[in-house]
């Protein structure tokens, strides 16, 4: 973990592959370079590493064989779910193997009496809700990638979605897991009833980016579908007004099921892509979904509409029926493909800020974008302050990518400065190792390393991800001070 591992040892590599081929069915081991390239990255394509091999086991006993072989030859393992991660969590590590859990794709039990689903980790997020639907139940976390991402990946990243403002993130909706430790033991963590003796290991494992153990089963909380849902869309001629309305709605005590903002650039891109009929000159739209029992939805719609008008909305669109509600959401959900249509490349950032800083941060981002001569669109989970600036660029222009990275870093620094976080849902992975040094002191990073070592003493599980080395933070700090940028809060500590 602290030193470069000596896995370049090609003899160990060929021995490992020999062992794997010997002990697993042939079709479960991929090691030809041309077939390996499918696995060279996850949803973050900027980082690519060819793994030594990919194994796709079907049984727990096979995972045990793989674990013990990797331990013997000192070869690191990267677990892979749907590969939709956006921070490089499932990107292979140099000289390591990829352990794909795609064959662990069974829903083991839907228990409508206790309102739980017991599933294997390779089941997709969407499949759980589909299986629960006949009982009027669903799994609340709904990442936009829900058709493709897996429960194992959701747990590892503590995934959220549009509706997590009201219904919580993955961590609030997982009741228990079975985990394979790096020692090859199966441990049961958590309790369907809600509390277990000892420390809250469940909350520790959720969000740990595949670095502490391999999740092989999960018991998820299912919740009843609301009686109805309505969408109120406010159009504003100024994004500051839309942002202030967000704070107002939340402060009033209403907890919307979703509260999202799209800015001018994104609206234009979307309008170009699908016809939803937002007014042409609008600077921002605020989408507020209210769900629950009929009477409360009616009451809250009225209140939200009032607040939007008070805050200067130029127009309000209220979904009249389910079809209209879904069309309006489609506009929001097509923001990313739409951005792809108006720019050759885009980089989707992820950070969280306190709601009251929304207007300040958005304006500051616009200033920074102008300085860097880059276009930035904003479409984000406003209700919980989770921003997703989309930096548009053209990779074929020399130096543009570097400018994007530098701007991205500035934005994350800004998030931390106002009391937020460098990642709200995509995780740290490989992408945000540097910015971790903004958010945490060296002692705190040390504590993360000690904890990693407690569960994975030989650094076999996804090593080098999520927690920067202290050396990296030192370098990062020097670089920033050197360039005379905003004070780096960790420098004085060492």
């Amino acid at each position: 973990m602290f030193k470069e591992r000596k896995t370049k040892n090609s003899k160990n590599h060929s021995e490992l592959i020999k062992t794997l081929l010997h002990s697993l069915p042939k079709e479960e081991v991929i090691h030809e370079p041309e077939e390996l390239s499918v696995y060279e990255c996850d949803g973050l394509t900027a980082f690519k590493v060819l793994p030594l091999a990919v194994v796709i086991p079907q049984k727990i006993a096979e995972i045990l064989v793989i674990l013990s072989a990797c331990k013997r030859f000192g070869v690191p393992i990267v677990v892979r779910g749907g590969g939709t991660g956006l921070s490089g969590g499932a990107t292979p590590v140099e000289g390591g193997i990829v352990l794909s859990l795609s064959k662990f794709n069974q829903i083991l039990e839907i228990d409508p009496i206790n309102r739980i689903a017991r599933v294997e980790p390779g089941v997709t997020n969407m499949q759980v809700s589909q299986a629960a639907a006949p009982y009027g139940l669903y799994f609340a976390p709904d990442p936009s990638s829900q058709i493709a991402c897996t429960i194992g990946g959701n747990i590892a990243e503590n995934a959220g979605g549009i509706h997590c403002l009201k219904y919580g993130l993955t961590v609030n909706n997982v009741l228990a897991i079975k985990m394979l430790t790096v020692e090859g033991e199966i441990v049961s963590i958590g309790n369907v009833g809600g509390e277990s003796p000892g420390c809250d290991l469940l909350s520790l494992i959720v969000g740990s980016e595949g670095m502490l153990g391999i999740v092989i089963e999960a018991t998820l909380r299912l919740v009843p579908k609301p009686e109805c849902a309505k969408l109120v869309v406010g159009c504003f001629d100024d994004i500051t007004k839309a942002s202030k309305t967000v704070s107002q709605i939340i402060a009033s005590g209403i907890v919307p099921a979703g509260l999202e903002i799209m800015d001018k650039l994104v609206i234009e891109a979307v309008q170009f892509y699908i016809q939803v009929g937002f007014p042409i000159s609008v600077a921002a739209v605020l989408l507020c979904e209210l769900d629950g029992m009929f009477e409360e939805v009616e009451e809250e719609c009225r209140l939200v509409e009032q607040m939007m008008i008070q805050m200067g909305a130029t127009e309000i669109i209220l979904s009249k029926n389910e079809e209209e509600r879904l069309l309006l959401w489609k506009a929001r959900k097509s923001a990313f493909p739409a951005a792809g249509r108006i720019s050759p490349d885009y980089y989707c950032m992820d950070g969280t800020i306190p709601r009251k800083s929304l207007a300040f941060v958005l304006n500051r981002i616009a200033e920074l974008a102008a300085q860097y001569n880059l276009r930035v669109g904003n479409v984000f989970h406003a209700g919980d302050g989770n921003i997703h600036p989309l930096i548009l660029y053209d990779n074929s222009i020399a130096g543009e990518k570097e400018r994007v990275e530098s701007l991205g870093e500035k934005i994350l620094e800004l998030c931390v400065e106002v009391g937020g976080s460098i990642t709200g849902e995509h995780g740290v992975g490989l992408e945000k190792l540097g910015p971790m040094c903004f958010q945490f002191s060296l002692e705190e990073i040390w504590q993360f390393h000690r904890l990693k070592r407690a569960l994975d003493p030989h650094a076999l599980l996804n090593p080098g991800k999520a927690i920067p080395t202290l050396h990296r933070c030192a370098e990062f700090g020097k670089m920033h001070v050197h360039q005379g940028q905003i004070a780096f809060r960790n420098v004085e500590r060492f």
């Binding site: 509390e195 402060a251 002692e443």
Partner: protein, 358 residues
């Protein structure tokens, strides 16, 4: 405006930190004391007493942003009173179990009240924790924002760790507005019927905020806007309970008549619909049937722990002075010990509080 009071360290906090660091440098064991109201909730600890109750006060409270940051020695009753003045509350309804109960003690014990299955547990409202670990380092994990996936969630790990991993200095909670209206209905049911009925109503979208069962009566509280609450209460049925606030307070604080003469008490946390326990005696169900209290001797403790385990849950045995939890299996115990070492390498903080082994 980006004007956040940097976590100003009061001189009392500094003194406390210095005192703790001195003990750590001498490798002295430390017994952490908040209000001293929950000693019974774990095993006995022997060590130099460190009292955190002087480390009190609200550091930041921003009602519009729905969060509050307080020092760990702040009485939980005081915090709740301040929140109430602003029409807000801690939705997990922490049991105080005594006037002196502190925020640090409540977090360390990971205590949640009757609303737990419907509104979430303490850990669901914990946003940030500042601790001092067993090496004397002051560390902050989490942030005031809800969505934060940077680094391991070490702040949630403090909830229920009973001070074995670190001494809590500061806590940030997510808060919510108080529901505008609440009512409780009482239905005549036996225990089996009650459990079945709870499952049926939980699968509907009713704003239930608590439910418990005792002595052939099922109590269900519904909270939210008045109109839907009234409709839900009517659909659930039964009679309206007068003074329901008092009733739920007695459930939360364990002052309900059931808890009288409860020198020996078993607590089970099980799947909601788990079958009735085969042991005779007086029962009280909370958390929609997930938290079950049993007043009895339970001579064969191992058998009772095993029964809970077979149902997919756990048990705790509280005698007059301390609490024993279901034993952990070897692998889990090893993980706990290693985590303990990662935070407290010399084994100084509340040693043996949850289990003898760490």
């Amino acid at each position: 405006m980006i004007d956040f009071p940097s976590s100003t360290t009061s001189s009392i906090t500094n003194e406390l930190i210095e005192k703790i660091r001195r003990l750590i440098s001498l490798k002295e064991k430390i017994k952490i004391i908040g209000g001293g109201t929950k000693e019974r909730l774990g095993r006995k600890v022997f060590g130099n007493p460190i009292n955190v109750s002087e480390n009190r006060g609200i550091i930041t409270y921003d009602p519009a942003e729905l969060f509050v940051t307080v020092r760990s020695g702040t009485p939980i009753a005081y915090l709740e009173a301040v929140l109430k003045q602003h029409g807000q509350y801690l939705p997990f309804e922490p049991p105080h179990l005594g006037e002196q109960a502190t925020v640090g003690g409540v977090v360390a014990c990971g205590l949640s009240g009757p609303s737990r299955p419907y509104k979430g547990a303490l850990k669901d409202y914990l946003l940030k924790v500042k601790i001092i670990n067993g090496k004397g380092e002051v560390l902050t994990f989490g942030s005031q924002v809800i969505k934060n996936v940077a680094g391991f969630d070490l702040f949630r790990l403090m909830a229920g760790a009973q001070g074995t991993l670190g001494i809590i200095l500061e806590v940030t909670f997510k808060v919510l507005p108080l529901p505008p209206f609440s009512t409780t209905v009482v239905l005549e049911k036996n225990a089996t019927e009650a459990l079945r009925f709870l499952s049926i109503i939980a699968a509907k979208y009713f704003p239930i905020s608590a439910s418990c069962y005792y002595n052939n009566r099922l109590y269900v509280r519904v909270s939210g806007y008045e109109k839907p609450v009234r409709r839900a209460a009517k659909a659930i049925g039964g009679d309206i309970l007068a003074n329901d606030h008092q009733f739920w307070n007695s459930v939360k604080e364990r002052t309900h008549p059931f808890f009288r003469n409860s020198q020996r008490l078993w607590r089970f946390v099980l799947p909601q619909a788990a079958p009735l326990t085969p042991i005779e005696g007086e029962w009280f169900f909370d958390w929609g049937g997930s938290q079950r209290w049993w007043k009895g001797e339970g001579d064969n403790r191992e058998a009772i722990f095993r029964w809970a385990r077979d149902q997919g849950g756990y048990a705790w045995y509280l005698d007059k002075e301390e609490t024993l939890a279901s034993p952990l299996d070897t692998a889990l115990m090893r993980i706990h010990r290693r985590i303990k070492e990662a935070f407290d390498p010399f084994g100084l903080l509340n040693p043996g509080r949850i289990y003898e082994e760490f």
